[in-house]
Symmetry: C2
Subunit: 347 residues, 2 copies
DNA sequence: TTGAAAGCGCTAACAT
DNA sequence: ATGTTAGCGCTTTCAA
């Protein structure tokens, strides 16, 4: 067993010496589409294995200006949807042979984080549930760093937004309520200044009016459980109580079910139908059996990473918006699945 | 407004030219403890601001052999505890001026991920809910890369494990059940081959026997909700049903409450007391009000990052194990908080 | 205190 | 197909 003398980093030189070839031969052996003879490649690989050598990505990046690093900025992960989204995104990035440098957005220090990521020369930037200041947008553009936004539609140039079709799915929920005979239909908004919350409200209203119904009341729950508790109390305290509530995410919908049962003694779905958004794990739990919208996270992250790969090679302009078709998942909180022969929307 | 001619990356040379100083002056202006006159520093800073310059971390790392990159390997984030842990860990890493390169462990490709991180010359490696093969352990040691394990105690050299005091907290739960008058007390294990699940069982048994009680039955729920459902059905189907179950995490405990109520029509805590571990958000929800153990995630990640910083400067041997004191959070699932004057354990 | 020069580990253009 | 040479952008001795 040949050993390395100076403990510490093993370099291409060490491998070259051991294999009896030049440094460039070693480099070529580790470069996918390079001219190396079967023979030298074998020698290099054996030597590399022996020494436990692996090219230094930093040094490599310095010459290739490809780091295989993707910067990811996300929010707090208390919301399980964000957690799952981040997990799948990271997995997809690593499946594509890259690595994710992840930051949690401070909201206040968002620009600083992006600047930091840029100093690592990330090949691309992915923003999940986060915005981009126009200042940073131009810095990314100048550095030729493609930016992909997931789950937020950003009105900024040179950025591709990947979201599910919030309007379509929300309209489907609205129509579901009406078909189930509900008439006092309420909406619980997420964070009011996000595109997702606005799109969901717009779609929901459209779905209602398509069947001749109209919104009875609404409140803001800020996408959090606590906010959902407050908003649910507000809605249900009304003198004319709603008989159906569409919450802009599951966290608020679960809170709404809790409040309806515990604080108001209501039966779900008898007295009150509730629907959410995200199809989180808890939506399927026996206690809730919550109707919800599956955003197709795998589809979203796949699109996002495809956009990254395209942008990295093309270096050109990018598509502005990608819409992922969601799926409505009906459970007992809206009276259970509809009859089997009724067609689902979406593909 | 002076602008940069060649769009693309701005280098120290550009700044030097604009500021009328040398490259090294620029470098020194960006190096905390370096000899630069107030005057040149000011000139450099102004020029850098104007150009939007920021030192290239990759190039810098190549000479300093400090990347300010921390490799993080974690598991699936379906478990909200892992999600919160990861979030806080990343936040703590970025507060320390470093960046986290995050991978989701494939279990099968764990070694490959670590090797990949090593090729980025990460300053340290953090494993959360993950193991380390002895092969990789020696590669880390050879490269002088410190390894910190969170939430797993690993029997490997040169590694520091940060966990909460699982045994202490679990013993407290055991004693709580006995004090509340329960005698048919069961344990629901997590993944059987993890140190956390084993330590919790050991502590729980110890707590019981300390008050003269003994374990009635046990099952394995693998730390998942589905697993918890199955294990709860198993335990509650017994001819002599348990009247208290300690689940090794909240996900399983919530599942147990659901099963007890929905499938067996039991009252919690009347017919069955349930306690969990992690003090996840859902444990506080009105439907569950679950007694649980708060592992003090902020304390865990703070210790972990302190260990990183210490290891990076010292390059010496490290402490083997850090125990974080947890807190018992009593809620209605075990009959509500005890009287106010009864002392809590831990600090 | 500052600038000039060397080099971190690698890849790529050029010769062979 | 292989080796030689010249950098990638930075820090850091070494002189001045």
């Amino acid at each position: 067993m040949t050993e390395q003398s100076g403990s510490g980093r093993i370099t291409a030189n060490d491998v070259a010496r051991l294999a009896g070839v030049s440094r460039s031969a070693v480099s070529r052996a580790f470069t996918p589409g390079a001219y190396v003879s079967r023979d030298t490649r074998a020698k290099v690989e054996r030597a590399a294995d022996l020494l436990g050598y692996r090219p230094d990505m930093l040094a490599r990046s310095l010459t290739t200006s490809r780091t295989f690093l993707v910067g990811v900025i996300t929010t707090h992960l208390d919301n399980p949807f964000y957690a799952t989204l981040l997990q799948r995104l990271i997995e997809e990035i690593q499946r594509a042979g890259m690595a994710a440098v992840t930051f949690i957005a401070d909201e206040t220090s968002n620009d600083e984080r992006i600047s930091q990521l840029l100093s690592y020369r990330v090949d691309a930037l992915v923003l999940t549930n986060t915005s981009l200041s126009s200042k940073m947008s131009v810095r990314c553009a100048r550095g030729d760093t493609p930016v992909i936004a997931i789950n937020r539609y950003l009105e900024v140039d040179n950025i591709v937004s990947v979201t599910c079709d919030n309007e379509l799915a929300s309209a489907a929920i609205g129509k579901l309520f009406v078909k189930k005979g509900r008439r006092r239909i309420a909406y619980m908004a997420g964070e009011p200044d996000t595109s997702s919350s606005r799109d969901r409200e717009r779609g929901f209203r459209a779905g209602l009016s398509e069947l001749g119904a109209t919104l009875h009341s609404s409140a803001v729950g800020n996408y959090s459980h606590d906010g959902g508790v407050r908003a649910a109390r507000e809605l249900l305290s009304s003198s004319v109580r709603p008989d159906a509530i569409f919450c802009a995410n599951d966290l608020m919908a679960l809170a709404t079910v809790d409040v309806a049962r515990k604080d108001f003694g209501l039966d779900v779905p008898g007295d009150l139908m509730v629907a959410g958004f995200d199809n989180s794990d808890a939506a399927a739990w026996a206690t809730y059996r919550l109707t919800s919208v599956d955003q197709n996270i795998p589809g979203m992250v796949r699109s996002a990473v495809e956009e990254i790969e395209a942008a990295v090679v093309e270096r050109g302009r990018m598509r502005r918006r990608v819409l992922i078709p969601p799926t409505l998942v009906e459970r007992e909180s809206t009276g259970g699945p509809k009859s089997i022969d009724e067609p689902k929307y979406g593909s």
